[in-house]
Subunit: 231 residues, 2 copies
Amino acid sequence: MTIDPMKLRQVSVFQNATDDDLKLIARHAIERSIEEGEFFFFQGDNAVYFYILISGRAKLMQMNPAGQQVNLRTISEWQMFGALGAVRENATYPATAEALEHSTALAIKSDYLRELMQTRPYLSFGLMKLMTSYIQEMQERYRELATEKVERRIARVLLRLTSQMGVKTKDGSIELTFTRQDLAEMSGTTLYTVSRVLSEWERQGLVEAGRERVLIRKPHGVVQIAEELNP
Amino acid sequence: MTIDPMKLRQVSVFQNATDDDLKLIARHAIERSIEEGEFFFFQGDNAVYFYILISGRAKLMQMNPAGQQVNLRTISEWQMFGALGAVRENATYPATAEALEHSTALAIKSDYLRELMQTRPYLSFGLMKLMTSYIQEMQERYRELATEKVERRIARVLLRLTSQMGVKTKDGSIELTFTRQDLAEMSGTTLYTVSRVLSEWERQGLVEAGRERVLIRKPHGVVQIAEELNP
DNA sequence: CGAACAATTGATCCTCATCAAACCTTGTGG
DNA sequence: CCACAAGGTTTGATGAGGATCAATTGTTCG
């Protein structure tokens, strides 16, 4: 039992692929399921495979020598990850991928993608577009970290997550499933500070905070905090 | 009077180009010289051209709505910049490029590069490798900014600059030409803090600090500050 | 029910940013 | 050739913003 090749078109890089190519790719994919807290790969591992998440949720992170870690990005369904290793031979992963819940991914040999890209410009362009968006996002986040105050950074993180994986409830609120620690790693602060900020926002009626859960009641208010010129 | 096409091979992306391709590319390049403090392009501009710096020095930076800016990277000779815009049609530059001194660059239409990449995988791969290195560097810097103390970040910046554009003097010291403000923007701090840290290092004999100049006397000592596990 | 984990909240401390003032260095024009 | 202006740098004083530590209170699940 393998994946339906046509479903692969949901992957941004494969958007312009021919049906035949999708079938080819699907035939080279193997499924891999892991539990919450387990890892698809570690920073520094040989980048033999790249992955496409087909169910669950994962995070890409980097840690410093002392073991402190930062969250680079959260991966949701049909997103590709670990693909930077496909650009050159014998590359290593520049980050670690950990499952945030029980997750399943397709693993495909990096060598194979590299081979395909030799003759299929649309694939190279797809990957380059993806890489461009990473670069832009990292540049922005870097600037935010360097110049903005925590509260605003946390607001930005919530908004980013909203657009990437927020679940809209029927009354216009948005639900996010993350621990304070996760949010802290994503905004470059500590879980204590995240907790304080969320408590304050809850007092103001902007959000409802629960265990591993944030419900954004007034998205507009959060946007205002994220954007406002004068704090 | 145009550029010698063969010189273009110094550009990492063109490393594996055929001589004919280099000639083609050179024929599409126009030279553009600007003075210190002037700009090649601004963030948000239409990315009509990408550039190759052939003399001088420039910096890529990003600013937030309030006007504070951070330095993303310093560009030295034969480096390509503004090339992210070549990946998709009608893209805009995600950063601003300013000359740090009188500088000359080749400007080539982004459209043209994109066209070439359709039929020349080596070009796509060259650009992807470049983009991969940007992503990795930004990820590292992001982590540093989030988890490391200023002193160590400044040490890292000096080391990065050393490998990118440091001038070795005959006694093993390394000379860098940057203002305190430049260094501050690169390490995500203020010129005051940079000044204080450099003064302290000077007291310890690690560096000599002058106007728009830092002379690293004991590179090993700086490495130690950058790497040491226990501060 | 109890263990494990997540979150809150208060108290404290420390790193840096900020502001202000003076000092150097370099280049220019009278 | 000197004086002065402009820009870069240093240094001290001050304080704010968060990190850190510690203790307590939920929440979930076997």
